[in-house]
């Protein structure tokens, strides 16, 4: 599984999405745009991303992590290779 898939899996599981939710749906997710991604889920999501990729997410990044796309940017910043 590549890193993008691992990230999608983290989102699917933490936000309680259907395991077969299409990638395109996951990729378009935004904080608070769906009921499952509320502030409490956000806390779990940040922790799950840290665990999965063994990184530390700082204050600014917690506040910036407002979409799946932002999470990809964050992983890139931490040197996790997500592209192709």
């Amino acid at each position: 599984m590549d890193d993008l898939d691992r990230l999608r899996a983290v989102f699917r599981s933490t936000l309680d999405l259907a395991p077969d939710a299409p990638d395109a749906d996951v990729d378009g997710l935004e904080y608070r745009a769906i009921p499952q991604w509320d502030s409490l889920a956000h806390m779990s999501l940040v922790a799950a991303i840290e665990d999965e990729f063994d990184i530390m997410i700082d204050t600014d990044d917690v506040l910036d992590l407002s979409s799946f796309a932002k999470a990809v940017t964050l992983l890139d910043k931490h040197g996790v290779v997500t592209a192709g």
């Binding site: 309680d16 904080y31 509320d38 806390m43 779990s44 940040v46 700082d58 204050t59 917690v62």
Partner: protein
Amino acid sequence: MTALPHPSARLVDGPTGTELAGPRLVGEIAAAAERLTAQPPGLMLTTMPTRTQAVIRYLAALASGRPVALLDPGLPADFLLDLVARFTPAVVAGPPAALAPPYGYRADGDSWVCPGAPQPHHQLAVLLTTSGSTGNPKLVRLSRSAVFTNARTVARALRLAPGDLWPTTLPLHYTYGLTTLNCHLAAGAGVLVTEHGLLDRPFWSLTESFGATVLATVPYHFEMLRRLRFDPSAHPKLRMITQAGGRLRGELVTEFGRRMSEAGGGLVKMYGMTEAPRISMLPAERLADKPTSVGPAISGGALSIDNGEVVYRGPNVMMGYAEHAADLMRGDDLGGMVRTGDLGHLDDEGFLYIDGRLRRIGKVFGVRVNLDDLEWLLPGHGPVAAVAGDDRVVVWVEEAGAAARREVAKELGARLGLHWSGFDVRAVDRLPLLGTGKVDYRTLEERT
């Protein structure tokens, strides 16, 4: 008589950054009150989103003497219709646009109205639901004098002044959120009305640019503040964090109390319930000394312990519950006394310590959950037992594997409209039983 709002009170509308104060605020409330007066007299049922217009509508109801029931804006449509059927409000403000008015109601602007609805008791001012969306919520009936006295007393105890500003960190249909709104407005202070929460960047930019001085929190907010590596010294205007809504873990009390006091502010622990909005308050200067207490009774109130149960007497106690429209006509059923359902003790200074719960009630992220009801929501999972944890509910399930535990948490989260991480599901070989064959909750609590 307390003015609510006080002439110097202000509302800051988060989305636009506009400040409504003085004659402009008074004018907005008067205009909304006038619109309300044109509608049939009687109870108004309204959702209470954290928006300026909803706050104005609530203040207009208070100003025009119309009792108002404030509901969770996330309430499913069938719950709203059930409440309408049970309580026959004269006005339902802002119902979901897609919903047709039920029998007996007609649309009137953005409301449903019912001419000839029963007239509630003249002292009735505010009604709140006892629990989020579990079962058939009862309404708590608060008199006008209870609401106003409560606002004034809390404002004084927190030494709120016109320079204070609270950004809405709590839902306003929730007793602690509503009390915090009321006490700021009664003190002539400001309320920054924003739907953004602690994890949204706009919350912090608004907080900074308008100079918030008070943060009102429930226990899970501290996990968020910790996660954000919140540093009080980075917010020089912030002078106070209030905490209620359940027991805050000791280490968090110590940590945040110390950090707030180092930054020249304080952490104020409070205890209250929908039935008596604020009961006790631990002043910041006593926190280091009595970190596990929730403080003495607020001014005008009195605490006692009856067979281990905390009993509160005070002018802000509810008139009673309402389950049906007929109950809205009732006067004061309680005479200013409420049994809290919490077990506790008082020390020689009259400071209260909460030791546990008499009734089977737990809290998940500050929301009350009936633990017996919760067990009934889990048929098909074998024997289960729910006990209260720290702002979580611990659910013991016999012989549950990891997948089953996760399933239970998600099922409860979905049924109760709460995030699944609020349910700590644990496996047990066999639930411990008492001689009577009933589940031995005490043993489970000790293991929790």
